[in-house]
């Protein structure tokens, strides 16, 4: 359909009824009675006057004049038609956040199909707006391809960085490209971008403000062998609401005031049990369910081979305080002040504690590698550290007193996965560190570092969209190649990753329980939709911002057909002149 560049010119259409009025007034017949018509019946068929009124000609000429006027007015509007072969690239940003599940997703898909139906030829790319933008497709040229790509638009993301997605879309679209955003809320102020001013961005919000009750926070913690759960249930509406909260299969009514966030502390009797909480159905289902798995991360098995009594006591107390289990064989970490220990295995991290005789007392300054796991939160200010003054230690120095290395870490090569030999030079008899927090911090860091490299998940309960690390278990036979890790998403889809025994990061993209299978062992990970911003549906709106059509874009992309209309008007006027000339007698 042609677009009118200057639609105000349509006001000139008032000339059409004006012309009709002129004709009507001019051709209106005045009635006059005469004594006899015979004096008028002898009027010869003259051209100048006295001619019988021939009504059939007047409408024809009038119609021609009206047609000419209409064509001239339309030409004045500078109508343009789309040049099909010069279609500007189109990139569509799809909001993938889970608030779109509250109805906007289907509307947005319909809107997209409707928009693409007017694109000829079809050429579109799709970008998913998640926490980080992601291209959903390459350039699509057929609607069937679009429909297929839209099946991957699941709207499970806990947030949508639309700004980054729009930026990516403009990069993909190029300088002349157009971008459409399909979301459920209006743009933030910062999104009034240059592109919008240049009429390249159309922001189409298709949401609808609704009340919603959601679980916005769920934390499971273990303390003294007892598991507790913190639940936060929010009434994200402007009116009180009555709902039902089902915990572990037991339903209880829940009354919430407008905007209230109810905090619930719940006790779990069986530390190994899976915790489930469920709210009654409402506008958004994904935030009504929470599943919290028990924390099953195994503690570090610590082996101690310490002859120095005071040091042994200090280490045992620190280890017990931090939940490590002191074992007599196959430890994950062994701390020894002996040259060699019978306890160690190839997998064991060895800490060689050098209690040197006649040490020097270092009071600083202590130099630390702040990025190393062993120095996190470690503060040695005011500490007297007793060690001999030497200048070299094997491995990488982590803590030093001046140029005297005190703690060093050496990577043990040739083994699968991280294995380290750590050297600590400290004579507790000549040091005050045992009386400061620095010692338990150092042991905490040591145990934590080791634990972070043990097989299993770093976290088993994460928020949707968050990542957690997973260290697959290694085969007992180090010569055997590890099996691929299989990750089964909540919707049943699975993927295999060749972990090679190294740590991997698992990012949750669906709410629910993930199954991770590695070396015959099964691990579980749950992701809960706990985003108050996404659960708050009161800000959703349905509106459109921006357009792609400007005079400049029209002129660039649409070709004018005003010349055709002018040509037509000239033709009509020529025909009008010919008919008038012929009516006047033509050539006499």
């Amino acid at each position: 359909m042609p677009l009118l560049t200057l639609p105000l010119a349509l006001f000139a259409l008032v000339s059409l009824p004006a012309l009709v009025a002129i004709y009507w007034l001019r051709n209106r017949l005045k009635r006059q009675e005469v004594s006899s018509l015979h004096l008028w019946m002898h009027q010869r068929e003259a051209r100048e006057g006295g001619q019988r009124v021939q009504k059939i000609q007047i409408p024809l000429l009038l119609l021609l004049e009206l047609l000419a006027l209409l064509l001239l007015v339309l030409a004045a509007t500078d109508p343009r038609v789309l040049l099909g072969h010069e279609q500007r690239p189109l990139v569509v940003v799809l909001d993938d956040s889970y608030s779109m599940q509250a109805g906007a997703r289907q509307q947005a898909a319909d809107e997209l199909r409707k928009t693409l139906a007017g694109e000829s030829p079809l050429s579109v790319r799709l970008v998913l707006a998640r926490q980080t933008p992601q291209t959903l497709s390459t350039t699509l040229t057929q609607m069937s391809q679009v429909d297929e790509a839209l099946q991957n638009w699941t709207c499970h993301s806990p947030a949508a960085d639309l700004g980054s997605a729009v930026a990516l879309a403009f990069e993909l679209a190029g300088p002349e490209g157009r971008v459409m955003v399909l979301t459920d809320h209006k743009p933030e102020g910062t999104l009034t971008t240059q592109e919008q001013e240049e009429h390249r961005l159309v922001w189409r919000a298709l949401g609808q403000a609704r009340p919603n009750v959601a679980i916005i926070n769920a934390v499971r913690s273990s303390e003294a062998g007892q598991d507790r759960v913190l639940l936060e249930v929010a009434n994200l509406s402007e009116s009180p609401v009555q709902t039902q909260l089902t915990i572990q299969g037991s339903a209880t009514p829940l009354s919430l005031n407008a905007g209230e966030v109810r905090r619930l502390w719940l006790q779990i009797n069986d530390p190994a049990a899976v915790f489930n909480a469920q709210l009654a159905d409402d506008a958004l289902a994904i935030d009504n369910t929470v599943t919290l798995l028990p924390g099953i991360r195994q503690p570090v098995r610590l082996g101690l081979s310490i002859k120095h009594e005071r040091l042994a006591m200090m280490l045992a107390r620190a280890a017990q305080a931090q939940g490590a289990s002191i074992v007599a064989s196959s430890p994950d970490l062994i701390i020894s002040d002996q040259e060699s220990s019978q306890l160690s295995t190839p997998e064991t991290w060895r800490v060689r504690w050098l209690v040197e005789e006649e040490p020097a007392a270092f009071i600083g300054p202590f130099l630390m590698d702040d990025h190393h796991p062993l120095t996190q939160g470690l503060d040695l200010q005011g500490v007297v550290w007793g060690a001999k003054q030497i200048e070299t230690l094997p491995g990488r120095t982590v803590v030093a007193a001046g140029n005297t290395p005190l703690v060093s870490v050496q990577d043990r090569q040739g083994l699968r996965g991280p294995h380290y030999d750590i050297t600590i030079r400290l004579n507790p008899d000549q040091s005050t560190i045992g009386a400061t927090p620095a010692f338990p911090v150092l042991i905490w860091n040591l145990l934590g570092w080791r634990q972070s490299t043990l097989p299993g998940l770093d976290q088993v309960n994460v928020r949707l969209g968050s990542s957690t690390s997973f260290i697959p278990p290694r085969p007992t036979d180090t010569t055997v190649k590890p099996e691929p890790v299989q990750i089964i998403a909540p919707d049943g889809t699975s993927q295999s990753l060749a972990g090679e025994g190294h740590s991997m990061v698992i990012t949750t993209q669906q709410a629910g329980v993930y199954q991770i299978v590695a070396q015959g062992r099964r691990f579980e990970l749950t992701a809960n939709a706990l985003s108050p911003q996404e659960s708050d549906l009161t800000k959703l709106t349905s509106e459109t911002h921006g357009n792609w059509v400007t005079v400049s874009t029209l002129r660039r992309q649409y070709t004018s057909i005003a010349w055709m209309l002018l040509l037509g008007a000239m033709g009509v006027l020529g025909l009008h002149a010919f008919l008038s000339w012929r009516s006047a007698g033509g050539m006499r």
């Binding site: 017949l29 009675e33 005469v34 004594s35 006899s36 018509l37 004096l39 008028w40 019946m41 100048e48």
Partner: protein, 290 residues
Amino acid sequence: MDALYRQALLDGERAGARYRLEPPRLAPQGASGARLGHRPGSSLEFMDHRDYQPGDDIRRIDWSGYARSDRLTVKLYREEVSPHLDLLVDGSRSMKLSGTSKAAAVLGLAGAMVAAAGNHNFTHALWWAGEAVRRIGGAGDRPATWQGLSFESTTPLDEAMARLGPTWRRQSVRVLISDLLWPGDAFSLMRRLAQDAASLVVIQVLARADITPPEQGNLRLVDSETGHEVELFVDATARRRFTETLDRHQQLWRSAAAGVGARLITLTAEDVVQKWDLQELVRQQVLQVK
């Protein structure tokens, strides 16, 4: 009858009271009447002698005088005339053309002619040409007492006379009052009117609208008698052409009137009713001032 018509008759009668209808100059031979005329005739009243001329009635030869003088003379006697006015009025619709004074002028002129005739001891008869020609009123009726006057006929005068013509009195003075605006055979009508008449006067009454063509514009002209319509664009040329056609029409009637010795007098209705001044009829020797 319309009060306006009655008033017009009274106005005309009053105007005609100042005049006398002039008798015809040439009395027809063999006529006899109730009054002695000014010219020789066939009455018993002797007036004069004159020499015999071939063709004279030999019964009028004065044989006594021939015996005395040996000359053939004939006795001349005063003529004996019986003056009568046959007044024929066109009762067609065009005579009451809307927006004009034609009807009043026609009735007024009829009344005036009757009054003037009465002033000269004329008897009169009023003949009304409607769908046919019929007589209105009695011989001695005053115009104001005439009944049944209406201008509703759609039949042209010549056709009305053909359907049922008037029973004219021989040698009467005949006066026709009409607008003569129909495309009939003027010569035939004139001959019929003049047949056995002492004299014929045709008073053509036209409205100003009949003479003056309308202003420029698109007009739907409606024939007052037939109701037929014609739509015309009138400009200066059309106006000129109308005037030329009217002139030819008038010339036709004048020729027809002249052919039978009749006098055709054209009056404008609006001028007539304005002052009831009949001097034009006096100039044309139809009326005489008393």
